[in-house]
Amino acid sequence: MRVDDLDGTIREALHYEVAAESYCLEGLEDRIATEVAGQLPRRGLFDRLRGLLAPTRGARVGQLAIIGATAAIFLLIGLFVADRTSLFGPGGGTPRVAAAGADQVLFVMPAPGAHSVAVVGSFNDWEPTQLADKNDDGIWRVQLSLPPGRYEYAFVVDGRWWGQDPLADEYVRSFGEYNSVRYVGQVGGGA
């Protein structure tokens, strides 16, 4: 038997079990519609920014592009000057969060006396990635290279869940616990 001969059977098996169990979905739409009634979808940071630009009635796309390009040039000049004056440089005293590009994300966890500190999250399929305390100052670190996206994660300190990272962009609560969230390479990203 060739592996591809299995396609039909796999498809059938999956549909079969859904057909056998989907009775529990009866009325789900009504239950959720009642639950969300009177509640509006949340406004994100991106929309608020767009909202600021949107009321410029009559503005052509070209005009917006000019405004955008000018803003980008000023931003670049600003960053260049800031870098030259080493406001955010290594001499500034604070560790750089994104040291080598937007996708280098530093995870830091102060845990003096801990035996093991790991970070688990959607970027490593919730498989622990160990942090290291190389200079024995109780601050555990690991730097990961992550593609742009939204990542949920938490620290596991000596086997205990630690879901609220002070460096996170936001927190979400699932199953009675907190998880931290970071946005990498996106609007609203602090990582």
Partner: protein, 207 residues
């Protein structure tokens, strides 16, 4: 038995209708716009259209009806709350499946750190000894093997064979490279084939 068969047929027909483009893009966009304005009924219609697909994904990932039911509910609530994050350049279903699969992976993670003492629910119809038909036997065996498959192999398989996503879309939903998706699906199928051959189930070709 006959009612179960007819229900199975219905699911197939629904799948065929979806393929035929019954869910016209314009209608969906209208419903999504209305949902953005807080029209809960429009959101109810979206749920009615996608609930089987999301439930199938969750059931395939988690192999447990109660958890799949829970997370199907949560996925639709979360998608509604975050609806403004949805961009029209992506298929709505892909975005929705991303939310559902993230919730599933969270739940699997939760299970890992909070193991239950009792074994997971045996789903209805799993390995029913009363059915001696070869095809049923193959299906039953596949389902048992799916239970044992590591979830990172099972997930792409479900998205491919239940949700009919392309490799590219699966890669998007699971934050993987397209090549990794292909490899995992192929390996998962090899594992299934091995299991079936071990028990001699493949001797009986389905007719």
């Amino acid at each position: 038995m006959s009612s179960e068969t007819s229900r199975l047929e219905k699911v197939y027909i629904r799948g065929k209708e979806a393929e035929a483009g019954v869910y016209r893009a314009q209608d969906e966009v209208t419903l999504l716009r209305a949902s953005l304005e807080g029209d809960a009924e429009a959101w109810g219609e979206i749920i009615a259209r996608y609930k089987d697909a999301v439930f199938g994904l969750c059931l395939g990932f988690l192999r447990n009806r109660a958890d799949a039911e829970d997370l199907t509910h949560d996925a639709f609530v979360r998608a509604y709350v975050n609806l403004r994050r949805y961009r029209l350049d992506k298929r709505f279903s892909t975005w929705l499946f991303t939310i559902a699969s993230n919730l599933c992976r969270n739940r699997l993670r939760y299970r890992r750190y909070h193991p239950v003492i009792s074994p997971p629910d045996q789903m209805e119809g799993g390995g029913d000894p009363g059915r001696a038909v070869a095809k049923e036997e193959r299906i039953g065996k596949i389902r048992q093997t799916l239970d044992r498959l590591p979830h990172n192999y099972r997930a792409p398989l479900v998205l491919r064979y239940y949700n009919d996503l392309s490799y590219k879309e699966i890669a998007e939903v699971l934050f993987l490279q397209e090549g990794t998706v292909k490899t995992r699906i192929h390996r998962a199928k090899l594992m299934l084939k091995e299991e079936l051959e071990k028990d001699g189930v493949t001797q009986h070709e389905s007719g």
